[in-house]
Subunit: 173 residues, 2 copies
């Protein structure tokens, strides 16, 4: 079975059309991640903010972590594990110096979001993704869905925070 | 007239109560900012994401810029100037190294949102704030509203981007 992308990812309407896209992390011959389609609502860019982050090094990005309503409720009411249907979206953009802002501040200190790099998703479905902590993982890089081989390390990286239901990000008040 | 805060800022419900608070940037004896009350809906934390940023130096923070519905529509439909009622919220948190994330990455590169520092608002009302480009400015630092003296420099800093209706932040796709 090949990876499929039923709805082209970056066709997402900025005004938030309520359609959904279907990201398949298929390739049944691989052990991880599980061979299960992951559906991501295209309006994820309108979800609410959990927190922000910054990665130096090769990643060199600024990040926003957004959650659907089930995720936000879980954070704010301290509900763990996250319920089925919870979806977390981690957006990232190049960490770019802002000459415009620096001119105003009078020194080089300001960085803003440049070109988008990739978007990662965690989708909670305890039954479907039982072998990876109840979470399905998906990623879109440069507008293209990453296949199962590219997602094989997701779960292992999240294992150290198993006690927080495999989610790194803390809510930023 | 003294600065007043009718609803305590950090009493904001995380689940998004539709009440509103009233931040007064009063002190009529000062030239700037204009003596006009600024009302900020307490549910601003649930607004949608415009972009993220990072300031080094003394600020040393990570930022998220959120907008109410009028702001998001203006960004996405390229409407300028922003219409009356548009409100932009800039949240900031300490830029803090994440030892937990670094352990997973295998090197020191990861920074996350630490303690919140301050929240700044721009409120569009062409008539009320005619002397400052149609924008009223407000800020809450450590849970307390900043008075007019503390806001006196806002407009001057935003003047360099007058052609973008005084707004620095670009939409992050």
């Amino acid at each position: 079975m090949k990876s499929t992308l039923v709805v082209v990812f970056w066709a997402l309407s900025l005004t938030g059309i309520a359609a959904s896209m279907r990201l398949s992390s298929a390739q049944a011959d691989r052990a991880a991640p599980p061979n299960a389609a992951i559906e991501i609502p295209v309006e994820y860019r309108d979800w609410r903010l959990i927190s922000v982050a910054h990665e130096e090094g090769d990643l060199n990005d600024l990040r926003a972590v957004l959650g659907n309503d089930l995720v936000m409720q879980a954070y704010r009411e301290d509900i763990r594990p996250f319920p089925d249907g919870a979806i977390i979206a981690r957006l990232a953009w190049r960490h770019v110096a802002s000459e415009e802002n620096n001119a105003v501040f009078g020194r080089a200190q300001s960085f803003v979001a440049g070109a988008p790099t990739n978007v990662q998703f965690m989708v909670k479905d305890e039954a479907k993704f039982a072998s990876t902590g109840g979470w399905g993982f998906a990623q879109v890089t440069d507008g293209k869905p990453v296949d199962a081989a590219g997602l094989a390390t997701c779960y292992a990286c999240h294992l150290p925070v198993k006690e927080r239901d495999f989610v790194f990000t803390h809510y930023a008040p």
